[in-house]
């Protein structure tokens, strides 16, 4: 304590000294007050215990009443739902199985598409989703082959779905970490190259009027390879590009293939670009990937594109 504090302390005690003397608390008064205090405490405790029990009883009764009132309804509902679900599962599993080999334009193709969407929506891991989507793109390529072999034209719906799946694969890769993304882009590129070669062979045997729709898909596959190359060299630039594509109205970016956000088509069923920036006037304006900001190097986002002819690169 400092000298000033000490002096202050002494002065304060001196000033208030007249009040220092107090009569002691009378023992009888103290006993009376204590008894009153303890009695009040006992009463409060009793009230609290009673209130707590009452609340508990009320809660139990409420639960029981609700259960009694609702159990009949719940039971009936549960039974009905069980029967319906069982019926759907038993009946539909055969239908879904049969639909897997259907082709676009056939009755069961809608079931096939739906089952693919459901399976995709139930998949949580990004890598599993990617594997599934890549498998679906293989299916689309097979369907196109089979349609061409049977002399049927390529439905616009199939083209849209195919492009949407290609876009979804890239978007999934863009949302992975660097290491996962590199692996995913390798998968995407290999698939796109293989499918591009398949379509290349297909084009040679197609009638002239059927060529443009398949050529467009082939160019889209080239774009897929170019974007994968970009991602492998410059992950951040690739992510920026994919983000930009996601916000472009012409981009087919949704993961769910049935979301129907593919490029619009003209009356002939030919997919048409909507992104004026990418429109080079040949009717396929989506063939060149947009350069990400700050990535204008000669290798960035450049693939074998632009002439409508695909030169396959060796698969690594």
């Amino acid at each position: 304590m400092s000298r000033v504090d000490d002096e202050l302390d002494r002065y304060g005690k001196h000033l208030l000294a007249p009040l220092r003397e107090t009569p002691p608390l009378d023992a009888q008064i103290s006993t009376q007050e204590k008894a009153r205090f303890l009695s009040q405490a006992e009463k409060l405790h009793k009230d609290l215990t009673t209130a707590s029990k009452a609340a508990h009883t009320r809660q139990s009764r409420n639960i029981f009443d609700v259960f009694k009132r609702k159990q009949g309804i719940y039971f009936i509902k549960a039974m009905a739902i069980t029967i319906v679900v069982l019926g759907i599962l038993l009946g539909s599993s055969f239908t879904v199985y049969a639909a897997q080999s259907s082709l676009p334009g056939e009755t069961l193709y809608a079931v096939k598409s739906l089952s693919e969407d459901v399976r995709l929506s139930l998949t949580t891991s990004s890598q599993d989703k990617l594997n599934l989507i890549l498998d679906y793109t293989n299916r689309r390529a097979d369907e196109i082959n089979q349609l061409a072999a049977s002399g049927k034209s390529l439905p616009d719906q199939t083209s849209k779905r195919y492009q949407s799946e290609l876009e979804s694969a890239l978007q999934l890769a863009a949302n992975m970490n660097d290491e996962q993304m590199q692996h995913a882009l390798g998968q995407i590129k290999r698939q796109a190259e293989r499918q591009g070669m398949t379509l290349e062979e297909l084009i040679t045997g197609l009638p002239a009027q059927a060529e443009p729709a398949v050529i467009h898909l082939q160019q889209r596959l080239q774009e897929q390879v170019s974007l994968s190359n970009l991602g492998e060299k410059d992950p951040q630039g690739f992510r920026l590009e994919m983000r930009a594509r996601q916000h472009r109205p012409s981009s087919t970016s949704k993961i769910t293939p049935a979301s129907g956000n593919a490029n619009p088509t003209d009356a002939s069923g030919m997919p048409q670009p909507t992104d004026k920036q990418n429109d080079n006037g040949n009717g396929y304006g989506n063939q060149k990937p947009t350069q990400a900001p700050g990535h204008g190097g000669p290798d960035s986002g450049q693939g074998n594109q632009g002439n409508g002819k695909h030169t396959p690169e060796p698969t690594p």
Binding site: L8, G12, P18, L19, E33
Partner: protein, 184 residues
């Protein structure tokens, strides 16, 4: 009572254990009564203040509030608030006790009466301080509390408590200079 002890006994008090509550009453009631009497100068009022302090404490326990530690500071805070409310409910003394003191002091030369007059002057002067000023100097110079305990009771830092004490003594001194016969 130290803080850890306070916590232990408060845990029991929250369960309304009679023994714990009795111990709390026995430990703190004499001090609360003394504190109240010093400020109120009346045994009945001091008793009321003490009873109400413990009653409010029980009310806090009922609502699962009240202190988790430093029970003494908490109880004195209740008592202080009760006294402050009492002062506010009374007409503030503009020139307190002059009438009583000057009534005829020379007719009562007895030392006891003179002391009582001085006590009343001092209590009246204390009522003119702010509640916080009153609280810090009474706890410090009459109840002999350390500043850290006072800081907990008034819920202020120790530095602020010291400043309050300094201002309170200055104000009290200025008020008491009005009384010629008060021993400053």
């Amino acid at each position: 009572m130290r803080n850890s002890q306070d916590q232990a006994i408060l845990d029991r008090a929250r369960k309304f254990e009679a023994e714990a509550l009795e111990e709390i009453f026995d430990t703190f009631s004499p001090g609360i009564y003394r504190y109240a009497f010093r400020l109120l100068g009346d045994t009945e009022l001091a008793r009321d203040c003490m009873a109400e302090t413990f009653s409010r404490f029980l009310g806090a326990l009922k609502h699962d509030s009240g202190p988790n530690d430093y029970l003494q500071a908490y109880l004195y805070r209740i008592a202080h608030n009760w006294i402050t409310d009492y002062y506010r409910s009374k007409v503030p003394p503009s020139l307190p006790l002059d009438m009583q003191i000057r009534a005829n002091p020379s007719d009562e030369p007895d030392q006891k009466v003179a002391d009582e007059i001085e006590n009343q002057q001092l209590r009246a002067a204390l009522t003119l301080l702010t509640p916080e000023q009153r609280q810090v100097i009474v706890l410090k110079y009459l109840e002999d509390w350390e500043n850290d305990a006072i800081a907990r009771a008034v819920e202020k830092p120790i530095g602020a408590v010291k400043a309050l004490q300094h201002r309170a003594l200055g104000a009290l001194r200025r008020i008491l200079t009005r009384y010629e016969d008060f021993n400053l």
